[in-house]
């Protein structure tokens, strides 16, 4: 999307109608930027803008106040048109202290608006932020290509709440609502919903309710004043489909998708997990839903977690384990057992920056090859990936469906960017979601544990407690015809090929690869997977608006790859594969289809910016 920014507007009292904007709130961990962002998001949603958000937490739990690494941010992109990412560079940057300014200013869009809380620009904070001199005074901001609103928000907040009798410390905490009030005014948002929220949130503290509301209103009133009035915008409704919406985050959607799978399959679920960033919230979220038949086990480590999940599957539940890269590495020996015993298992890998401990709070897509190949012996599993926060819900259901139908481990790949990102989400009609069929073996007649469905090649699932079906399974090779241990050479080859054929067969049970944007043949296909969906889609659309013959396809099924993918790729002169890794999907497609796909890697712990993709695509097409 393109937004006309303040600088390009002629200043008039009436609101400037703009397509949309990208706003970033940045402040100290203690400044409540996440709350501000959430409230601002809710308002945009109610105004029926399309939007996407992304929080940016510091790596430290609670960094000392005022430090550079203690800065917490929240970015929102809202628009009257479809929105696919939280946006590249902010049109408006709100910096609540010097450190926030230092770490974020470089991102402000040319011609953008900078709002700073001048009240925090004292010697100590400036020093902590590494400023020799005060940037608000040393002239470094004069005609620096953006508009500056330097306001002593701290002072104005204290003034606005003085009658509530709060301690200065508490009073000072209200400054995020003062700021919110100002931003509400700038974008013409009603204050009521946030006032309601404040009343609910601080119900037990009347003084806090009064203070925060007072601050909110004061900030709003301040907007009215002359020097701000020409920064007033209106972002019309977006043409989004009718229906009921809610905001949903990636990890939340993943957890809720698993709950959905319980209801759709009628099975109970066991999540075995060990805390790890950025996966822990899946455990936290699911632990609230015991009444959905979900047992969450916080195991002693990742190995115990996956083993407990496999044990639960063996006993007839949906066994799920959630973790991130290093945890996945630890689970692989056990995943091999699930492959060999052919038990359903859902592995959720919320990828983060690697290798090793790497960049725990940053995003990356570098676990794909680990998921596909990272086990001893020939141990094929299914691998799928979610494309957006909301998509996590549906892919989690899909992971469970495949695991049960094919009696195999299924990896669901998401990443830190999806996990913490959020978007408005059309609430599905549960009654319309397809059921997941489960057939436990009951009949002793002719039973053995590795009897297979000739169609899917899945073995029958006979669970403890079933009379007449007692049997033993394990990780040693099994006889195709009896399920007993077998060291027979031909049998081993037959079983290995069968396990491989079973996974390969999934390709016939999943949608063909479709084109997201553009034609299904042409000069260039941009092939993506996972969380890069929004950036690629938007970048390709922009290139097409510029008349370039480029299309976008986004792979959700990574192993096996969609049955028509090879043929699709061959219909394009060139294939470009942008990934947040050093080139992984590109290896899979080159090896499988022998197409000269080209890698476009980014390994910075951050998502692609639309602009950089657009630029690369143009370069590629010119080269």
């Amino acid at each position: 999307m393109t937004t006309s920014t303040p600088a390009t507007e002629t200043s008039t009292p009436t609101r400037h109608v703009i397509k949309g904007a990208v706003v970033r709130f940045a402040g100290d961990s203690g400044d409540g930027m996440q709350v501000t962002g959430d409230q601002f998001t809710a308002a945009a949603a109610l105004a029926q803008n399309d939007l996407a958000t992304f929080p940016d937490f510091p790596a430290e739990i609670r960094a000392p106040a005022g430090t550079l690494y203690g800065v917490s941010g929240f970015q929102i992109h809202f628009s009257s048109q479809d929105v696919f990412t939280p946006g590249d560079a902010p049109d408006v940057l709100v910096a609540m202290n010097p450190a926030a300014l230092k770490t974020n200013l470089k991102d402000l869009k040319k011609g953008g608006l900078l709002i700073v809380n001048a009240g925090t620009f004292n010697a100590t904070n400036l020093k902590k932020a590494g400023y020799e001199t005060n940037p608000l005074e040393d002239g470094s901001m004069d005609n620096a290509g953006f508009s500056l609103l330097a306001i002593d928000i701290s002072k104005l907040t204290l003034a606005s709440v003085k009658d509530t009798g709060l301690s200065t410390k508490e009073a000072n905490r209200c400054k995020n609502f003062w700021t919110l009030g100002l931003m509400f005014w700038i974008y013409g948002r009603p204050m009521e919903p946030s006032i309601k929220w404040i009343e609910g949130k601080f119900a037990k503290r009347a003084d806090l309710v009064a203070a925060n509301i007072a601050a909110l209103k004061a900030g709003h009133a301040y907007g009215e004043t002359a020097e701000v009035s020409h920064f007033s915008y209106e972002v019309p409704k977006a043409p989004v489909a009718k229906g009921k919406y809610r905001n949903i985050g990636g990890n939340q959607a993943t957890a809720w998708g698993l709950l959905a799978a319980c209801e759709l399959s009628g099975l109970e679920m066991t999540l075995g997990a060990y805390p790890i960033t950025p996966a822990s919230d899946v455990l936290h979220e699911l632990s609230k839903f015991k009444h959905f038949g979900v047992t969450t086990i916080q195991a002693e480590d990742e190995i115990a977690a996956v083993c407990a999940s496999i044990g639960a599957s063996y006993a007839g539940r949906i066994g799920v384990t959630s973790t991130s890269g290093p945890g996945v590495a630890l689970k692989m020996e056990a995943v091999g057992l699930a492959v060999s015993t052919e038990l359903p298992l859902v592995l959720i890998d919320i990828q983060r920056g690697g290798p090793s401990t790497g960049l725990p709070t940053k995003t990356e897509q570098a676990d794909l090859l680990q998921a596909v190949y990272g086990r001893n012996g020939e141990a094929p599993v299914a691998v799928i990936a979610a494309a957006t926060p909301g998509d996590c819900f549906y892919m989690a259901i899909e992971a469970v469906r495949l695991a049960i139908k094919y009696m195999c481990p299924v990896f669901l790949l998401t990443d830190g960017y999806l996990a913490n990102g959020a978007e408005p989400w059309p609430i599905p009609d549960v009654s319309k979601l397809p059921k997941i069929e489960v057939n436990f073996r009951k009949d002793p007649e002719g039973f053995h544990p590795f009897l297979r469905d000739p169609q899917t090649l899945a073995r029958n699932w006979a669970i403890p407690g079933t009379p007449g079906l007692t049997h033993r399974i394990g990780g040693i090779e099994k006889d195709f015809n009896s399920g007993h241990i077998s060291y027979n050479p031909d049998n081993h080859e037959k079983m290995t090929k069968t396990r491989a054929a079973k996974i390969a067969g999934i390709a016939n049970d999943v949608p063909e690869q479709k084109i997201e944007v553009g034609n299904d043949s042409g000069k260039l296909l941009v092939l993506g997977w996972g969380s890069t969906y929004g950036s690629i889609r938007e970048a390709v659309s922009r290139c097409r608006e510029r008349g370039l013959d480029v299309s976008h396809a986004h792979v959700r099924y990574l192993n096996p790859l969609p049955r028509n993918l090879g043929e699709l790729l061959k219909r394009f002169d060139r294939v470009l594969v942008p990934e947040l890794n050093n080139g992984q999907l590109v290896k899979l497609v080159r090896s499988q289809y022998l197409v000269p796909a080209e890698s476009l890697p980014k390994i910075q712990g951050q998502p692609f910016k639309i602009a950089e993709l657009e630029e690369k695509i143009r370069q590629v097409m010119e080269s």
Binding site: G272, F289, F292, I303, S313, A315, G316, P464, L469, R472
Partner: protein, 340 residues
């Protein structure tokens, strides 16, 4: 693979499988298997309600020979699998077979957490003080200086005592027995079956190929009486061919000592009475230095405590009680939503 018999009618045969047992001729595992198969029918548990879980090792082959549900998993992880199985279906009777390597070397952590959580499963640890399946390397229970294929100069590791380990991590039931002592082992198995919580049983097992005779010095008929003390709750800790030796706590050193009844004024009254609810006593008995002291066999410690699976089940029930069975569409439509 099996057909349906009602519990009361079960016999030893019903617990045997059609697989030929592939342990070395003369292995202590055979005796343990036979005793277990003999005791199981007494428990009144239907075949299909019983699950045997194991890791990897000669001992961990055990499930293949029990005609119940069985899961031969991966090395050292059996307790974690058992955790998933038991919490998924608490009505199952879950038993675990492991070895000193499987359970205490690679699997020590899972065993520790299983014990402290008090998951309601029964654990048989076959302690032959050696790695059998991999052909004879020393294990965490092998004595210091043990000469094996991997330690030609003798091992540098101080061993760990399985029972003391179990007590140290707060295990709720800790017992010891011997492969060849069918009766004693049977009694221990019955007690374990009755215990609600993790029942840890260490069974001294002879590996006649790689560590033959490891326990002969207190296992053989002729030395048994002098070298073993059979502990029984409420009974004095007596042993010896004439049952005239006893254990007592030296009031000064607060350490255990062996006393000879009749000698320097010692009488039955001086002999310590076993109290299986006293974890300190159990700890002392588990760690008595051999051969200076006899080897303590039997139920060293037993205490009823909430089980992990029990608490989990209760929380589940309470949640449904409180919130009703979860509804997805309610959930999806909860919180702040908006119509367009």
């Amino acid at each position: 693979m099996s057909n349906i018999i009602e519990p009361s009618k079960l016999t030893k045969k019903d617990f045997e499988t059609d697989q030929d047992v592939r342990w070395c001729p003369g292995c202590g595992d055979y005796a343990i298997l036979a005793t277990v198969q003999r005791v199981m029918p007494e428990l009144g548990v239907p075949l299909e309600q019983m699950v045997w879980v194991s890791g990897i090792g000669c001992s961990s082959r055990f499930p293949y020979y029990m005609n119940t549900y069985g899961f031969h998993t991966i090395h050292g992880r059996a307790p974690a699998f058992a955790m998933g199985i038991k919490t998924a279906n608490p009505s199952l009777s879950v038993w675990m077979a492991t070895g000193d390597g499987d359970g205490l070397s690679i699997g020590g952590n899972h065993l520790m957490h299983c014990l402290r959580r008090n998951l309601d499963i029964k654990i048989l640890m076959f302690n032959n003080r050696i790695y059998g399946l991999t052909k004879g390397q020393y294990s965490p229970t092998s004595e210091l200086g043990k000469v094996t294929k991997s330690t030609p100069g003798g091992s540098a590791d101080q061993p760990v005592d399985p029972a003391a380990f179990a007590l140290g991590v707060n295990g709720s039931f800790v017992a010891r027995s011997i492969d060849t002592e069918a009766q004693h082992l049977s009694e221990v198995l019955r007690r374990a079956a009755k215990h609600k919580g993790t029942a840890f049983m260490e069974v001294y097992q002879n590996c006649n190929v790689f560590n033959d005779g490891a326990f002969d010095s207190f296992r053989e008929k002729d030395v048994r009486a002098e070298r073993q003390v059979r502990v029984e709750h409420g009974k004095p800790l007596l042993f010896g061919t004439n049952n005239d030796k006893g254990l007592r706590i030296n009031p000064k050193t607060l350490q255990l000592e062996v006393i000879q009844l009749g000698e320097n004024g010692m009488t039955l009254a001086d002999v310590l009475v076993h109290d299986e609810t006293n974890s300190t006593l159990a700890f002392m008995l588990a760690r008595m230095p051999y051969p200076h002291f006899p080897v303590a066999l039997g139920v060293l410690f037993a205490e009823e405590r909430p089980t992990y699976d029990g608490v989990v089940a209760d929380q589940q029930a309470a949640a449904v009680q409180k919130l009703g069975k979860g509804s997805l569409s309610k959930l999806l439509n909860s919180g702040s939503t908006w119509e367009i």
